[in-house]
């Protein structure tokens, strides 16, 4: 009689749910890399510090300014915006509310550019480039392209607008509320944290999950 094929897995191990692994949810995150970037509060500041790169300063500033209305957090009314960003620190956003009226957003208080003055890595239509999707196969092969061509591995950050919140006005923050620096000049940032894939619309949370309240489990 021929050997019957085995009907169970040959191996079964756990990678995350290992015994004595206390922090299941963080176990999958590798250490965050840091990349260099520069923060300016104005195009003038950039041009004063980089007299040989005035054109580049202008390009970066314009790029950040163009992103600003797309990525800035939006508010239903001026009061809510000023509560977060301070009095006279908000402006009308270009998009209109469906029911009429305006959205409000914080003013751009500065911008961040790649220290390398490398070229922007995002397309025109997309607010920011995020790390390129990596297929599982690429992951196994450790394709060199992934180390160099991607946003995260390319040594730069997306040029982007920065904001200052009312309760922490000394700190420059991205549209995602990631604290970048307390002063202008060179900074090290986590490229993932400032990749800013967020779209900058009116944000809300928790729109799924309500039906589960009447069920012990959502499974079957």
């Amino acid at each position: 009689m021929t050997q019957r094929p085995r009907k169970r897995s040959h191996h079964a191990v756990l990678a995350l749910m290992m015994p004595a692994t206390g922090l299941l949810l963080t176990a999958c995150s590798p250490p965050e890399p840091q990349v260099k970037a520069v923060v300016y509060n104005s195009v003038q500041e950039c041009q004063e510090k980089n007299p040989d790169a005035k054109e580049q300063c202008l390009t970066d500033y314009q790029q950040a300014a163009a992103l600003h209305p797309k990525v800035a957090p939006k508010y239903q009314n001026l009061q809510e915006c000023e509560a977060d960003f301070g009095v006279q620190r908000c402006e009308i956003a270009p998009e209109r509310r469906a029911e009429g009226g305006s959205f409000f957003m914080p003013m751009m208080m500065g911008y961040m550019a790649s220290q390398m003055f490398s070229r922007p890595l995002m397309g025109q239509g997309m607010p920011y480039a995020s790390a390129p999707p990596t297929s599982p196969r690429d992951n196994v092969r450790r394709d060199d392209n992934n180390q160099t061509s991607g946003f995260a591995g390319g040594g730069g950050v997306s040029t982007q607008p920065l904001y200052r919140s009312r309760d922490d006005a000394g700190t420059f923050r991205t549209a995602d509320n990631y604290a970048v620096a307390s002063k202008t000049g060179a900074v090290s940032v986590d490229p993932q944290a400032v990749s800013g894939a967020r779209a900058g619309g009116v944000r809300s949370v928790g729109g799924f999950g309500s039906t589960a309240a009447s069920h012990a489990s959502a499974g079957s």
Partner: protein, 389 residues
């Protein structure tokens, strides 16, 4: 198919908790029960359960495009018209990860399909990893012979499936955070995804946000791909439903699973494949007032874990399970008596349901649930099994 008592492993509960299987006991009652096991013959797996599972899966998949192309059928299944295109667009571009079909199988007659749990199937961790480890331990301890096997290639097939699905990264895993069972199942799938080489991130469903028509995580990053252990029919009825239409998020399970996890698939399968040996007669309930006939079961189009199911057995006795799903439409299915086994430990009868898993498009193993009632619910005990001639 036999039920055999066996000694429990020493300190298995400590081990269960160390790997996050915290729902081994539910409300003080055992959920994972290793005081017994079921023994199948090779032939029962090789010639019955495995081929029946793959054939039923193929039959269900063949119905998918017919339903998605028919407004009448989509209406009959109670699927909101606003999402017909959204659901249809996911087919067949987004293949499934996994599903579980519940079978009525006594080891002698062909398995009969009771229902497809094709959207949010649970009991995965215990079917896959914990059941596998139980057999390894019992063989290692000399309690079971080396020749003992198990119909359970779930973990291998899940890892392989994650490699083949070509999912966006980081790929998010989400469920409702206060259900230990759901979190356990979700983390286990995330574990398999990590072993497949995917970058992953856990996100409690309550923290899922939307901005500018895209789903975002708590830090505001766009979510391009997400596993959700949360029913599509709930999602379509909740506040974020409209965001689905503008978002780029690829969901696992894909939206078309809503069609196959609907109990309406059961009468539709019977219409398409009448008298198939693995199907039970079924029809859409025309009038909720028509009395349930002897030997028939009544199930809501959408229900989970046996909730709101009622049946009248061959003797005319009525058995019903309460639950929160009682408001929609119903189907009726011929009653298939679950096989009965003697539970010596408890001195009662055990009715046993065979849950048969499909990963990718292949049969991947079984998990058995037993209960003192004919209706299997979310607290029915999970009992491990072996294959041994």
């Amino acid at each position: 198919m036999q039920r055999k008592p066996v000694n429990e492993r020493a300190r298995w509960r400590d081990y269960a908790e160390s790997v996050g299987f915290n729902y081994h006991t539910i409300d003080g009652e055992p959920y994972w029960d290793e005081s017994a096991y079921y023994q199948f013959s090779w032939q029962q797996i090789e010639n019955e359960l495995e081929p029946a599972t793959e054939e039923l899966h193929e039959m269900a998949l063949a119905l998918g495009p017919e339903i998605l192309a028919s407004e009448d059928l989509l209406s009959q299944l109670g699927i909101p018209a606003a999402y017909w295109d959204y659901i249809a667009d996911s087919w067949p571009a987004q293949p499934q990860l996994y599903g579980r079909m519940d079978l009525c199988y006594d080891g002698k007659t062909p398995p009969k399909l009771l229902e497809l749990n094709y959207d949010t199937p649970t009991s995965l961790f215990e079917s896959s990893f914990f059941q596998w480890m139980w057999l390894e331990d019992l063989i290692g301890d000399g309690v079971l012979p080396e020749a003992a096997d198990q119909f359970n290639s779930l973990q291998e097939k899940l890892i392989e499936a994650f490699k083949l699905l070509n999912l966006p990264q980081p790929f998010y895993f989400s469920c409702v955070g206060d259900s230990a069972e759901d979190v356990g199942n979700t983390l286990y799938l995330m574990d398999c995804a990590v072993q497949a080489g995917l970058g992953t991130q856990f996100l409690p469903l309550e923290q899922l946000g939307q901005g500018g028509g895209q789903f975002v995580d708590a830090a505001g990053n766009a979510i391009n791909g997400m596993f959700k252990l949360y029913p599509w029919e709930f999602m379509l009825a909740e506040e974020f439903a409209s965001v689905l239409l503008t978002s780029n998020t690829r969901f696992v399970e894909p939206p078309w699973k809503l069609v196959l996890s609907n109990k309406g698939i059961l009468p539709l399968l019977w219409q398409k494949y009448p008298d198939h040996p693995n199907l039970l007669p079924g029809y859409f309930e025309d009038s909720a007032n028509a009395p349930l006939q002897k030997g028939w079961v009544r199930k809501p189009l959408y229900s989970r874990e046996g909730s709101n199911v009622e049946l009248v057995n061959a003797n005319g006795e009525k058995i019903a399970a309460e639950g929160p799903y009682g408001s929609g439409r119903y189907i009726r299915q011929q009653f298939c008596p679950l096989p009965q086994f003697q539970d010596q430990k408890r001195g009662q009868t055990a009715y046993t349901l065979t849950g048969s898993w499909v990963v990718g498009d292949r049969a991947a193993g079984i998990g058995l649930r037993e209960d003192a009632s004919l209706i299997t619910t979310n607290t029915s005990r999970f009992v491990p099994h072996i294959i041994l001639d």
